[in-house]
């Protein structure tokens, strides 16, 4: 029955066994269609809307959004589906980490950014930068609409029709293939409540940035007329990771449309907070309020200076940024900003993971807290090792936000 087997010297039992194994293996096969996006652009979206709810404004727009890219409408003009849906977009928190951590770190559906918790095709490693927090979207012209939705766990298309009648923002964007974009839904004018989007084409992956330095740029995307408004109209739930009412004024009331940015770099090993001599109130840039221009701001470098000790390459430095209106002098670090300085002075600190630990020196004058611009983690044989990153610091009304982008680095060796 098995002549060829016999001639080849294979035992029929073995032949049969092979056949059975083969059948078993083959029956377990599944065909997986890998989804790809042809000529993708890379998109990351933030909801910057933050409203104050009082009895007078209770029926005004809520701040949770749904983003629809290329929506499909039914006969009544209600959206029924969309090519890409970013649902449950809540107001962004202070920190946008360099890796897509949101998806594994919560039990609710509320998404602090897009893609965030959405299951999308993530961006690749582009010129050494990890774009896994960006979604791949088809390039070209696209219609993008933001709808205000109630903050509940009901998916957008299952909500009552009244929530789907009028988009808050409805616009057309042109995305170029291979480019990296961050899209902001924001309030353009605090008095007229005009809303809009700001699409920024990022440049960090095209620049010759050294991996031994920390880079940072600044944006002030505040609404027109925010800082001038009476403080009773301003929202109080700022994004600061540490709610410290004593320093609420440090940024919560907004800053003027024209500010100078200074930076001090501190060493966390020193008992009294002293900044590095060459990085003490160092002038970085002149920051203008702008929520119209899509241009990326220039980057400034700060030191990383890792000190190689036994199995570690940790940088002990952390940063503190100061915003001063032109003509407003540094007097004392202990001075509060906000109303007392007539919105001419504000500061914030980037230390540790931004959760409010105090440095050994007990630098109490924190202001709003953000994570350190330097990412420190176990990599290769070093535990820990510090890495330089590329950062954007965005001021939106009374809030400050940090977006960190990191390079790919070696996995830990144990």
């Amino acid at each position: 029955m098995f002549p060829r087997c016999r001639t080849a010297g294979i035992q029929p039992q073995r032949y049969l066994r092979c056949m059975v194994i083969g059948i078993v293996l083959l029956s377990g096969c599944a065909k997986i269609d890998f989804k790809t996006v042809k000529e993708p652009a890379y998109l990351r979206v933030f909801n910057n809307l933050r409203f104050k709810v009082t009895i007078e404004t209770q029926d005004q727009a809520l701040s949770t959004l749904t983003m629809l890219i290329n929506p499909v409408y039914d006969g009544d003009g209600l959206p029924v589906s969309a090519a890409t849906v970013g649902d449950f977009l809540v107001t962004r928190p202070a920190y946008a980490p360099p890796y897509p951590s949101h998806i594994g770190n919560s039990l609710d559906k509320y998404n602090p950014e897009f893609p965030g918790k959405e299951r999308v095709i993530a961006g690749p490693i582009l010129n050494g930068f990890d774009l896994s927090s960006w979604a791949q979207v088809p390039s070209g012209k696209m219609r993008i609409a933001f709808y205000v939705r109630p903050k509940s766990e009901v998916p957008f298309f299952d909500l009552e029709a009244r929530y789907r009648t009028a988009p808050l923002i409805d616009t057309t964007l042109d995305l170029l293939a291979g480019e990296v974009y961050t899209l902001h839904a924001l309030e353009k004018d605090f008095d007229t409540k005009e809303k809009g989007v700001l699409l920024r084409q990022e440049i960090f992956h095209k620049l010759a940035l050294a991996d031994s330095l920390v880079y940072v740029n600044f944006y002030n995307m505040s609404a027109r007329g925010f800082w001038q408004a009476d403080r009773s109209r301003k929202p109080e739930d700022m994004n600061t990771l540490v709610k410290n009412t004593y320093w609420e004024d440090a940024l919560g009331q907004g800053v003027r449309d024209e500010m100078n940015v200074y930076c001090s770099v501190y060493d966390d090993r020193v008992q009294r907070p002293t900044s590095l001599p060459s990085f003490t109130k160092l002038f970085l840039t002149h920051l203008l309020r702008n929520n119209e221009s899509p241009a990326a701001a220039p980057y400034y470098s700060l030191p990383l200076l890792t000190g190689a000790m036994a199995n570690t390459a940790r940088s002990p430095f952390y940063q503190k940024f100061f915003l001063l209106a032109p003509g407003f002098d540094f007097r004392d670090d202990e001075q509060a900003g906000g109303v007392e300085s007539n919105n001419q002075y504000a500061f914030f600190t980037c230390f540790s993971n931004g959760n409010g630990e105090t440095s050994p020196g007990g630098n109490l004058n924190w202001g709003p807290m953000l994570p350190n611009l330097i990412v420190t983690t176990h990599s290769g044989i070093y535990n820990p090792r510090s890495f330089g990153t590329v950062n954007s610091i965005e001021i939106v009304n009374g809030s400050v936000h940090l977006i960190t982008v990191q390079r790919v680095y070696a996995p830990p060796v144990y």
Binding site: Q13, M19, V53, P150, S232, K243
Partner: protein, 368 residues
């Protein structure tokens, strides 16, 4: 092993494996033994009065029908607070009004508490009686960064699920306990006050100071209503109030009891208005509005959070600049909302009426 046997085994194995099917085993099978709404209430001691109301209103069959409904179920304690202590007390109601009362607590469609928009009030839903239910879900955690958040849901100002009895599945919908019997009357605020009969001094004052005609049907109002006995304790009667000279006494004497916007007491958990007074001092307020016709004075309520005794109602000079000037303030406190909110949140066609335990201004305090 012979070749033939081998082949037979081989074929047998192939055939056996081919005939394998993969049944979709569900370990979390839905409970088939769920009860419908009226049946659930009947079998639960905490809802015996609700069940009695359902039976007396002849709605048992309707609420047991298959379908999807949401039942906002007042406990027996909630009925007790509006004076209903035994099923016999429902005999005072005619069947039709009892039917309306029960249907006000039934909402078509299955609504989980998590589906109520968070951080907002006045979310309109229709109930089975054809009226509106106003749903709210509020994060009342005092510190926003506190990971142990306290989120409360309310329907027409009544708290949902005080003892975590909410989202209870029924065979025909979902069941939530609420802390109060929903109070809705198809009347205007003026009709409501007149009908009750014990707000005569308030009505006389509102009429005398020109507010009564302002309470029209096309707007929504909130009235803080002290009963006659409370006014009389302060020496204010219908006669004494109507004799006041309106040229001498400020309109705030009675304007203080009106807010030109409708709110349930629970809504104050959401509204946080910070009033900045003096050098850096702040006062947290829930609602604060200038008094109509006497705008240099404002009426307001401090929020629920942080106040064990509930919101405090006050009148003061509008936006005091110098210091927190609680002039003309009487410590008027609400009863603890857990034990007795039954005297607030009376919903009418054009507003809400809350009972007030004190008189906020005496005539001499409104003497200009």
């Amino acid at each position: 092993m012979s070749m033939k046997k081998m082949t037979i085994y081989g074929c047998f194995l192939v055939v056996t494996m081919l005939s394998c099917n993969k049944p979709d085993i569900r370990l979390d099978n839905p409970n088939d033994a769920l009860r419908p709404a009226a049946e659930f209430a009947r079998n639960n001691y905490a809802f015996s009065l609700l069940s009695a109301a359902i039976v007396k209103a002849g709605l048992e069959e309707e609420l047991n029908k298959p379908g999807a409904l949401t039942m906002w179920a007042p406990t027996d304690a909630a009925f007790n607070r509006i004076g209903i202590r035994s099923p016999a007390d429902f005999d005072n109601y005619d069947t039709e009004s009892l039917r309306q009362l029960v249907l006000n607590h039934v909402q078509p469609g299955k609504l989980m508490v998590e589906s109520i928009p968070l951080g907002s009030v006045n979310n309109r839903y229709d109930n089975a009686a054809g009226n509106n239910s106003w749903l709210a879900r509020i994060d009342i955690t005092a510190v926003p960064t506190n990971p142990n958040r306290t989120i409360r849901a309310y329907v027409n100002g009544a708290q949902v699920g005080i003892d975590n009895r909410y989202n209870i599945p029924l065979s025909n919908g979902i069941f939530h306990e609420i802390s109060e019997v929903l109070k809705y009357e198809d009347a205007s605020v003026r009709e409501w006050l007149e009908k009750k009969g014990h707000y005569k001094v308030l009505i006389a004052g509102l009429k005398h100071f020109g507010y009564w005609d302002m309470l029209t049907d096309d707007k929504q109002w909130t009235i803080m209503a002290p009963a006659d006995s409370i006014f009389e304790r302060q020496g204010m009667t219908v006669e004494s109030v109507t004799e006041l000279d309106t040229a001498v006494y400020g309109k705030r004497l009675f304007g203080a009891y009106i807010f030109p916007v409708r709110f349930f007491v629970s809504d104050l958990g959401l509204f946080k208005l910070k009033l900045f007074v003096g050098s850096g001092a702040t006062v947290e307020l829930g609602v604060y509005t200038p008094i109509m016709g006497d705008e240099s004075f404002s009426n307001g309520i401090t929020p629920i959070i942080g106040r064990f005794n509930g919101p405090g109602f006050f009148v003061n000079k509008t936006f005091p600049q110098e210091s927190w000037d609680m002039v003309y303030t009487y410590a008027v406190s609400y009863p603890d909302y857990r034990s007795n909110w039954s005297r607030s949140n009376h919903l009418t066609r054009n507003g809400c009426i809350h009972h007030l335990d004190g008189v906020v201004l005496l005539p001499y305090q409104a003497h200009d």
